[in-house]
């Protein structure tokens, strides 16, 4: 029915006693997500809402509760350490909500976890939602219903907009995955598209991109050569100013890629129907 998270998910919350961590833990529990443990260093032994045990470290929490997924809400300056901790403790799937992590931290993280059998989603992402099964992140649960549309997006609230528009016409999502907008992150469009292609419960896909980087262009190539399921796309940022280019170096590294026009052209060339605004997406899926 889904990818990455479902009824089998045993979720651990890193930073569970912080205000954001606590708020969203309660939301996730209310949605029915199986939150088995929390970690806040120095608060091991406490309980959250008399139901969820808090541990000092991921390693101990995993041993005690069999957690198989972790979600991170700690402040940016500690977030990379939390990812390392979860990866080293052998958590196979890590979702990092935290925004504002230095890019040098994320490069170290990626170059390290790429050697391990670990998938990271995010950072600076809304997490993911398998309607009716599990909410791992901050996507409001009530705006989505179960269905056969897989959604992958670099954006947060823009994704909610799309889920909401789908719900208005009675369309639902298998899983909605927010990959986050940071320049260096754990999971990209192609990774998720591949999972949707292989998921028997996903029939159609919505891919939401943004200006910057070349993730969408690469996804377009992947769609053209590897995917059999229909994909509808949307790219935000057509009217955004060219922006502060990173000196000569940025121009050299990124070349002509990264504009909304280039991404839309690439997607259309790959046979993707590209919506002109978010609320056009439901009809393009029909």
């Amino acid at each position: 029915m889904s990818i990455l998270v479902n009824k089998e998910t045993r979720l651990l919350v890193q930073g569970i006693t912080g205000s954001e961590g606590l708020f969203h833990t309660r939301q996730m529990v209310a949605y029915g997500t199986n939150v088995v443990a929390g970690v806040t260093p120095g608060k091991g032994g406490q309980w959250v809402d008399e139901k969820i045990p808090v541990f000092d470290s991921v390693k101990i929490a995993k041993e005690a509760t069999g957690a198989n997924t972790s979600i991170i809400f700690v402040p940016a300056r500690f977030a990379a350490d939390s990812i390392f901790e979860a990866a080293d403790a052998g958590i196979p799937f890590i979702v990092c909500i935290t925004e504002g992590i230095p890019v040098s931290d994320m490069m170290r993280v990626r170059n390290y976890i790429d050697q391990k059998n670990v998938r990271l989603l995010g950072p600076n992402c809304p997490g993911l939602l398998t309607p009716g099964e599990a909410k791992v992140g901050i996507i409001p649960g009530n705006i989505a219903i179960p269905g056969n549309v897989g959604i992958v997006s670099r954006s947060g609230t823009l994704t909610y907009e799309v889920l909401y528009a789908l719900k208005q016409v009675g369309m639902g999502s298998s899983t909605t995955v927010g990959i986050g907008g940071d320049p260096v992150n754990g999971t990209n469009h192609i990774d998720v598209l591949r999972m949707f292609e292989d998921d028997p419960h996903t029939d159609k896909i919505v891919m939401i991109g943004e200006i910057g980087g070349s993730d969408e262009e690469k996804a377009a190539e992947f769609i053209a050569t590897r995917m059999t399921k229909p994909v509808v796309g949307f790219i935000a940022g057509q009217t955004a100013p060219a922006g502060k280019r990173m000196g000569h170096a940025g121009a050299i590294v990124e070349g002509g890629e990264g504009t909304a026009d280039a991404k839309i052209r690439a997607l259309e060339a790959a046979g993707v129907k590209v919506a002109r605004h978010p609320e056009e997406i439901p009809q393009l899926l029909k």
């Binding site: 230095p102 040098s104 609230t157 260096v184 935000a236 000196g247 050299i252």
Partner: protein, 378 residues
């Protein structure tokens, strides 16, 4: 965060990279004095955070202190791409044999820093990147390992640098790498790195960009920020943790989330409107932040209408409504306002705004069309 040329070169020199003798000046008199100290020909370089200073006439060579003073007077009264020149760098003039490009930035696709180098440096490097990309050597550095000596040699060999300069080039590249890492830079660039007539490698120009997300651990760099050159509204926005970019249109936008903010601007354009700004209030914004955002939007006299598009998630719509009411009480805006609240506590928010004389909308398309109409009608 951008650093000025003089700030970047000062950092480079701390890492052993040779830079020309020189100092920064705020007045023509200071510039003259520096020229006197240096003796001989000097270069007067405007310090503004945009490219194309040379073409704009912001870089001049003076043969004596009197000419230095004269040129500094001229340059200090210039505006370059809308930015007033407040400082000039006075450097000893170099006799140039060759101009090399050397830069480090992050390659987001490779997830690694990448060193780029070309024997064809100077102002034409972007042209080279477009037309002869093979003339630019690219070498990725594993951030867990750091730069290796063999990589500095590979690059030197790759640009056919004469062997007598390999050692010095290696030292400079290692220094640039360390400056890049130690300062959480997203760009560290020397263009041109010259071979002087007297056979030395010298960093004639320098540029650094610092990762804003890392400034918490680089307080000494935060102090270098030159807020003179940002629009006052952007400075104000930063104070409240808002991301604001001023544009040329007439419909103010307040949205939560960068992607949704861009999509909201796009849809305004789609329906024939023109956004006055990008403004992301971020996740979980409270009433204070919303009020500040509204004040910033309304400070722009071009604004003829405002679109509020809030999709509540972490952000609560009632908090946003409270902020709007606070700001309205204070600023008493005269432009029409279109508001769309969806998601967390949207009902409560709508109820609070019921008496505020705002145009409401259900869908994003509806909201955009109403905002475009309001701006045209006003």
């Amino acid at each position: 965060m951008k650093l000025h040329e003089y700030q970047s070169k000062l950092i480079f020199s701390r890492y052993g990279i040779p830079i020309p003798k020189g100092r920064v000046a705020s007045t023509a008199g200071e510039a003259r004095q520096i020229a006197e100290e240096l003796g001989g020909r000097v270069v007067i370089k405007s310090q503004v955070l945009v490219g194309g200073r040379g073409k704009a006439g912001g870089i001049k060579v003076a043969s004596d202190p009197a000419e230095a003073e004269l040129l500094a007077t001229q340059i200090l009264s210039m505006e370059i791409k809308g930015l007033p020149v407040r400082k000039v760098l006075v450097d000893e003039a170099a006799a140039i044999d060759q101009e090399i490009y050397l830069g480090i930035t992050n390659d987001r696709a490779a997830k690694k820093p990448v060193i780029m180098c070309s024997a064809a440096g100077g102002v034409e490097i972007e042209e080279v990147a477009r037309t002869n990309p093979e003339k630019i050597i690219k070498v990725h550095v594993n951030p867990l390992l750091g730069i290796k000596d063999y990589q500095t040699r590979d690059i030197a060999a790759g640009i056919d640098l004469p062997r007598e300069y390999w050692k010095s080039f290696g030292d400079i590249l290692r220094g640039l790498w360390q400056a890049y890492m130690d300062n959480d830079a997203t760009l560290a660039e020397i263009n041109p790195l010259i071979i002087s007539k007297d056979k030395r490698l010298v960093a004639l120009d320098g540029k650094m960009l610092i990762d804003d997300n890392a400034l918490f651990r680089r307080p000494e760099l935060s102090e270098l920020r030159d807020t003179d050159e940002d629009a006052p509204s952007e400075v104000e926005a930063r104070k409240y943790g808002l991301t604001f970019i001023k544009l040329d249109g007439n419909i103010g936008c307040m949205v939560n989330g960068a992607g949704l903010a861009m999509a909201s601007m796009d849809i305004l354009k789609f329906f024939g409107g023109d956004p006055a700004n990008f403004l992301d209030i971020g996740g979980g914004a409270g009433a204070d932040k919303v009020a500040a955002a509204m004040r910033i939007i309304l400070a722009d006299p071009n604004v003829k209408a405002i679109l509020f598009n809030i999709f509540g998630g972490i952000t609560r719509c009632d908090e946003v409504a409270r902020g709007i009411l606070t700001a309205m009480a204070e600023v008493k805006p005269k432009v029409p306002m279109v508001v769309r609240l969806v998601g967390t506590n949207a009902e409560e928010g709508r109820a609070m705004l019921a008496n505020a004389n705002m145009i409401t909308a259900e869908t994003l398309a509806d909201a955009a069309q109403k905002a475009v109409a309001a701006a045209k009608g006003a």
